[in-house]
C-alpha cells in the first residue's frame, strides 16, 4: 500500500463517525427555531465571523498559552520532585499522604483560595493549572523511579556510572513510560482547570467567552466557543501523543517484543 493511501485510510478510520454525527446535527438542526439549539449552519457562520481572527487572537491564543505554561510548569516540578522522592524512600513514605491528599482535591475547590492568594489574573490561572497537573505526574514519576530493574542499578554500580549519568541514562528513561501515563491524565485535568479559572477569574480566554456568551444570551456564540474548546482539547491530546510516540519509541517495540515472546 502506498504511503498516501495509508494516511488517507488512517484519517478515514478516525473521522468517519464525527463526520457522520456532524452531518446528522446539520440535518436535524436545520430550520430549528429553538433559542438553545440553533441550526448548525448559523453556528458555522458565526464561527467564521468570530474566530477568524479576532477571538482566536484575543481569547483562544491566551488560553492555549496558559494551558501550555501551566502544564509545562506542573510537568517539570512533578518530574524533578518525583525523581527526588522516588530515590529517597524515607522521604516518599513521609510525603505520600500529603501528595495523595493534594491529588484528591478537586480543582474547583482550590479556586477560592487561589484567588485570595494570587488575585484573578494570569498568575492565578497558570498556578492553578500547574498545581492540578503536578500530582498525577508526581505520583507516577515516583512509581517509575522505584520500578527501575535492580539489575540495571547493579550494572550502573559495576560500571561506576556517575550520579548524573545514572539519572540521565538510567532512571529518567526507565521512569518515562510511567511519567507519560501520568501526564496524559494531568493534561485533561489541565484543560478543565483552564476553563474553570477563566470562567471565574478576570475576563478573557475561552472559558470566559463561553460563559459570557451564555449570560448575554448569545447562544450561537456560546456554541462556537464550545467547538473551539473541543478542538483545542483534541489538538492537545494529539500533540501529546506525537511527543509520546517519539520519546517512547523504544518502549513500544520493547513491550511488543516481550508480548511476542510469551
Amino acid at each position: 500500500m502506498s504511503r498516501t493511501l495509508r494516511v488517507v485510510t488512517a484519517v478515514a478510520r478516525e473521522l468517519w463517525l464525527p463526520v457522520l454525527l456532524i452531518a446528522a446535527w446539520w440535518w436535524f438542526s436545520a430550520g430549528s427555531t429553538s433559542l438553545y439549539w440553533p441550526p448548525l449552519a448559523d453556528i458555522t457562520d458565526r464561527f467564521v465571523d468570530l474566530w477568524f481572527f479576532e477571538h482566536l487572537v484575543d481569547d483562544a491564543l491566551p488560553s492555549v498559552i496558559r494551558l501550555v505554561s501551566g502544564f509545562g510548569i506542573g510537568f517539570a516540578v512533578a518530574v524533578l520532585l518525583g525523581l527526588l522522592l522516588g530515590s529517597v524512600p524515607a522521604l516518599e513514605d513521609a510525603t505520600r499522604p500529603l501528595v495523595e491528599f493534594m491529588r484528591a482535591l478537586p480543582s474547583v475547590a482550590l479556586l477560592p483560595i487561589m484567588m485570595l492568594l494570587l488575585g484573578t489574573g494570569d498568575d492565578m490561572k497558570v498556578v492553578t493549572i500547574a498545581f492540578v497537573s503536578t500530582w498525577p505526574i508526581l505520583l507516577n514519576t515516583v512509581e517509575g523511579v522505584r520500578s527501575v530493574d535492580p539489575v540495571l542499578h547493579r550494572v550502573a554500580a559495576g560500571y561506576r556510572l556517575s550520579t548524573w549519568h545514572r539519572i540521565r541514562y538510567l532512571i529518567v528513561p526507565a521512569a518515562m513510560p510511567q511519567v507519560f501515563a501520568g501526564a496524559r491524565v494531568a493534561l485533561s485535568m489541565s484543560v478543565v482547570a483552564m476553563v474553570l479559572t477563566e470562567m471565574l477569574g478576570s475576563p478573557g480566554g475561552l472559558g470566559y467567552f463561553v460563559l459570557d456568551s451564555q449570560r448575554t444570551f448569545d447562544i450561537v456564540a456560546m456554541w462556537t466557543g464550545l467547538i473551539v474548546l473541543g478542538l483545542i482539547g483534541y489538538a492537545a491530546n494529539k500533540a501529546f501523543g506525537l511527543v509520546e510516540a517519539r520519546v517512547l519509541a523504544w518502549h513500544r517495540g520493547f513491550t511488543k517484543q516481550k508480548e511476542d515472546q510469551r
Binding site: D149, V151, G158, Y159, Y169, W250, H251, F254, Q257
Partner: protein, 267 residues
C-alpha cells in the same frame, strides 16, 4: 602430574604467579546464615578461572563480593594490591540475565558507550572504542539496533562488548551463557576464548556447568559445602588452544570433568 591440590587455607597452591586479585579469608553471612567461609585464593594476571559449584551454593554472593558490589562480612578482596570497597575501575562485569542488564532505551552502540561516558572519555574516543569492541564480538552491523531487537546470544555479545570497551584488566562473568541455547552457548564460549587471547585479559567466570568450566579454564575453582568453601583449585592441563569437539573428546577432559563432579558432589 600436578592436577589437583586440595587446599586448606593459606597454602601456596592457592596462589598464582603475578596475581591481579587476592582473596583473603573471604566469608559472608546473611544474618545468621553463613553462605561462604574461608575462601583464600589468587587470580593470576591473564588467567582464565572458572568458579563452579551447584545451584544455590553461593556463587552469586561470591561474585558480588569479588566485584565490590557487596561488602563481605569477613575477609577482604584485593584488586591490583588495593582493597576493594566498591567496584574498581579495572574490573568489568557481565551479568547473567542479558535481557535485563542492557538498557532497552539505548541502542547497541549507546549501551556500550555509556560506561565510557562516566569514565571521562571524549566523544570520538568513546565511539571508536565501542565500535572496536563491537567488531570484536562480530556485531558491527547492529550498532544502531535496540538490544531487544536482537537474539539472546547477540544480546549477550553486546554485554560482552560493553565489558571489553571498558578496557578492564579483569572481566567477571556471572553464568553468562546460562540462558542461551546449546549451539549459541558453544559459539559464545569460543568467542570468549578468542577475545581473551586477543586482548590478554583476565577472566573470572562463574558457572554451574562443569563441562563449560573445564573447557574454558586454566584453573577451575570448585565450590562446595555449607557454608561453601573451596573444595579444590584444579589446574586444567589441557592444550592451550581449545576446540569444542576435539578438546571435549580427549580422555583427559573426561577425567577432569568427573574429578570436578566428584569434588562438588562430594562423592
Amino acid at each position: 602430574m600436578k592436577t589437583q591440590t586440595t587446599l586448606s587455607k593459606g597454602e601456596p597452591e592457592g596462589g598464582a604467579s603475578d596475581p591481579i586479585m587476592r582473596i583473603r579469608e573471604l566469608g559472608h553471612s546473611y544474618g545468621e546464615r553463613q553462605v561462604l567461609k574461608g575462601l583464600d585464593f589468587e587470580v593470576g594476571r591473564g588467567e582464565m578461572m572458572c568458579i563452579v559449584g551447584p545451584s544455590g551454593v553461593g556463587k552469586t554472593t561470591l561474585l558480588e563480593c569479588l566485584t565490590g558490589l557487596r561488602r563481605p562480612s569477613e575477609g577482604e578482596v584485593l584488586f591490583a594490591g588495593e582493597r576493594i570497597e566498591a567496584p574498581p575501575r579495572g574490573l568489568a562485569i557481565v551479568f547473567q540475565d542479558y535481557s535485563r542488564s542492557l538498557m532497552p532505551w539505548l541502542s547497541v552502540l549507546d549501551n556500550v558507550v555509556l560506561p565510557l561516558r562516566s569514565a571521562g572519555l571524549g566523544k570520538a574516543e568513546r565511539e571508536k572504542t565501542a565500535l572496536e569492541a563491537l567488531a570484536e564480538v562480530g556485531l558491527s552491523d547492529f550498532t544502531g539496533h535496540y538490544p531487544w531487537q536482537l537474539s539472546g546470544g547477540m544480546q549477550q555479545r553486546v554485554a560482552i562488548a560493553r565489558a571489553l570497551a571498558y578496557r578492564p584488566s579483569v572481566v567477571v562473568m556471572d553464568e553468562p551463557f546460562a540462558s542461551v541455547d546449546a549451539q549459541t552457548r558453544a559459539d559464545l564460549e569460543d568467542l570468549l576464548l578468542r577475545v581473551r587471547e586477543h586482548l590478554g585479559i583476565t577472566v573470572l567466570l562463574v558457572t554451574h556447568d562443569i563441562d563449560e568450566a573445564v573447557y574454558l579454564s586454566d584453573r577451575v575453582l570448585a565450590l562446595g559445602g555449607k557454608p561453601a568453601g573451596i573444595r579444590s583449585l584444579l589446574t586444567v592441563d589441557l592444550p592451550a588452544s581449545r576446540e569444542q569437539v576435539s578438546t571435549k573428546a580427549l580422555p583427559r577432559f573426561a577425567e577432569l570433568r568427573s574429578q570436578v563432579y566428584r569434588l562438588i558432589r562430594n562423592v
